[in-house]
């Protein structure tokens, strides 16, 4: 690849105005998109704003839209893209722009504050919590979430309807709710909240979120649909509800 150059079109600007700017960067072996962005920073645009931390797909900081696809910049190899054409890098669209590739993702942190906390049942007689691996496997899948917010970014409930943000938690938070609801030790019940305040019903299972998850969490199938089923069982199935009341079953 000696002498080759990558042609990059990077969004520059803030909430008021901006445009794509073109940069040319010498191609190096094994480069990922984030490497190219860093090269632009170091040599051509020192003030190019971008978030990153681990550079290994573990922290979920460097989310962006690469050629229109929401991805982590650190896990997108340049040789997986058609570099004969310019590569376009834009900030996530669903969140308000701060500057260049950095967006205001505080929506996600605000929604996290509204999640009712983990409330464990008492410990066993030996002073520990005994749990079988097969009982935690499904929750461990949810705990893989690196909070890159790409799922939130593609979810059209908020991507296309800004006003839904007040009453829709979004896929990331549904994964969090599912992790708590299915946690073998947890005793809280969040079903009514999910139905009434977190907009679980808005999701019409198009699976856009699952498609972009860099951790390959089956967000729709394993988190959202089971949550919907639990809500349905609780609030829309009179027989099950009556039976539960009769047996006074906890969570």
């Amino acid at each position: 690849m000696a002498g080759r150059q990558f042609i990059m079109r990077v969004w520059r600007g803030d909430a008021a105005k901006g445009s794509f700017q073109e940069y040319r960067v010498p191609a190096g072996e094994g480069m990922v998109v984030l490497d190219v962005v860093h090269a632009i920073q170091a040599t051509q645009a020192g003030d190019l704003a971008v978030r990153w931390n681990c550079k290994a797909g573990k922290c979920g900081s460097c989310s962006a839209e690469i050629n229109g696809k929401p991805r982590l910049m650190c896990m997108t190899r340049m040789n997986s893209l058609n570099t004969d054409e310019p590569i376009t890098i834009a900030p996530m669209k669903t969140f308000p722009l701060i500057r260049d590739l950095v967006t205001d993702v505080s929506f996600n942190f605000e929604m996290a504050k509204r999640v009712p906390a983990f409330k464990p049942r008492p410990k066993g007689p030996d002073g520990t919590h005994r749990m079988q691996q097969e009982d935690i496997d499904r929750v461990q899948e949810f705990h893989k979430c690196i909070e890159c917010f790409l799922c939130q970014n593609v979810c059209h409930v908020i991507r296309d309807h800004e006003d839904n943000k007040t009453h829709f938690a979004g896929p990331r938070l549904f994964v969090r709710y599912a992790a708590l609801e299915m946690h073998p030790l947890d005793t809280n019940d969040r079903r009514e909240l999910l139905k009434d305040k977190m907009g679980l019903g808005y999701c019409n299972i198009t699976k856009c979120c699952s498609e972009v998850c860099p951790e390959h969490i089956k967000i729709t199938d394993n988190a959202i649909i089971p949550l919907k089923e639990r809500v349905v069982d609780e609030f829309y199935d009179p027989l099950a509800r009556w039976l539960r009341k009769l047996t006074a079953k906890g969570n």
């Binding site: 803030d14 190096g28 072996e29 094994g30 480069m31 990922v32 490497d35 920073q41 170091a42 040599t43 645009a45 020192g46 003030d47 190019l48 704003a49 971008v50 978030r51 990153w52 931390n53 681990c54 550079k55 290994a56 797909g57 573990k58 922290c59 979920g60 900081s61 896990m75 190899r77 701060i98 500057r99 260049d100 950095v102 205001d104 993702v105 942190f109 996290a112 504050k113 999640v115 906390a117 983990f118 464990p120 520990t128 919590h129 005994r130 749990m131 079988q132 691996q133 935690i136 929750v139 461990q140 705990h143 893989k144 979430c145 690196i146 909070e147 708590l180 946690h183 030790l185 947890d186």
Partner: protein
Amino acid sequence: MAGPYETHEYDVIVIGAGGAGLRAAVEASAQGVKTALICKSLLGKAHTVMAEGGIAAAMGNIYPEDNWKVHFRDTMRGGKLLNNWRMAQIHAQESPARVLELEDWGALFDRTPDGRILQRDFGGHRYARLAHVGDRTGLEMIRTLQQHAVHKGIDVYMECTIARLLKDGDRVAGAFGYWRESGRFVAFTAKAVILATGGIGKAWKITSNSWEYTGDGIAMALDAGADLIDMEMVQFHPTGMVWPPSVRGILVTEGVRGDGGTLKNSEGKRFMFNYIPDFFKAETAETEKEADAWYEDKNNRRTPDLLPRDEVARAINAEVKAGRGTPHGGVFLDIASRRSADYIQKRLPSMYHQFRELAAVDITKEPMEVGPTCHYVMGGVRVDADTTATTVPGLFAAGEVAAGLHGANRLGGNSLSDLLVFGRRAGLYAAEYVKKFTGAVKPGVDQLDSTEHELLTPFNHHGGENPYSIHMDLQDCMQNLVGIIRTESDLKKALGEIDRLKQRLTRASVEGHRQYNPGWHLAMDLHALLEVAEACTLSAIERKESRGGHTRDDYPKADPTFGKINLVTRKKNGALSIAPEPLPEMPGELKQLIEEQK
């Protein structure tokens, strides 16, 4: 043009929101003092999130014969006895409770068949001791702590960088920094400040550390008059990725070897058997047969693949130098030929993913290429073992920014436990300090104004030095001259270079404006990076022996005289000085624990 500044008042502020900072904030808040947590990145993105292998805690779930005494001994011997014995004792005693507490807060560790927390083998630990979640333990830990802190209603200041500590006379009185988003300055007044800012690895070129690891906390403490110790002690993790160049340095967990992987040279030989030092001879297997049997039966001695990290990093370095390296200048790390594909994917999912995505290597079918990468600093701010108090009243430090626990070399898994044990203690004792302190603190306004002026200087220069170039040159300097193998002449050369870089930094200029400007942020970080680089180099010159993370080609042996001293770094009138001081004397019964061989 100075102030007025956005100001906030707290009892305790915690700087840094990795494992130590989060745990400290949770504790301080639980003690009923007004607490804030301030971090450079978004919450949950700190270095802890990258930790892979596990949390060392002698819970004895796999081997009932494990207990704090064995963990203490392993930690001390791993640190070549330069550790603060009291910290090592507290750490070994308290870490099991800290792990169980995480479970109470929602963490889900991998399980044993009888439903307890599974523990994994790691370098330098006699028994399988690391509580873990596959190879993403740090993620589980930070997310659990983060969610717990959020539910406790602790105030969090995200993407807010603290640049200087503020003082009122001899006491710490708060901190001054800026919002990364807007570039505006912000002042915090606080009776106690807890540093939990992590390490200094971004001073080296090949590193597993992110942009955040610029030594801020260490430099701020030094500037505020605190003592540092052991700054020469830097850990090069033996296994970082080496290919392709863009990923060089990214961590490959020790868990690969803990779960059965072995190191091989280009001749296919398991070379670690040739690098067993006398110090670990009695507890290390001499044949491949015994080494392989150890994984299942601890009556065998441990495989040399799991010698402490300093030993393994030096061995890899030597193999590559002797011409037995891989095509890209590393060695092979092979688990493909030793464990089933299912096992590897279950135990090491993120390694599988990382190599497949970044290097197009399938680790269930082919060996990985690995080499040393700068990973951790054992040195840092000097603290009281029990309370984490630094030598400046009101200033506390926990986690990687603090020194003492790990001595000359840290064992894998002892970092996450360190964060929990001493993070909690920092929060506890900072709160206690605040409760006892009846007066008010008032940082002088002149400190704010002069810092603001200093931080804005790069905007006043035009066409000056590019901060990115200064940083790259520092990384080259530290990599080449203050790396794994050191000599006096190289170290002195490095000092000269650091001095020139400091001069260049005074002429640094940045483009654009103050809003989310990484070039400006780097220019400000460079102050700390250059200071810690200098402290490390000066300290490395003074330690004329080889011990743990500090290897001198001109003094290749450990020297018992140096084995009894810490090197203390202080700053007076703008200049750094190094002074030897005796290690705290260890009680006889603990000495005995260490001397007991297998």
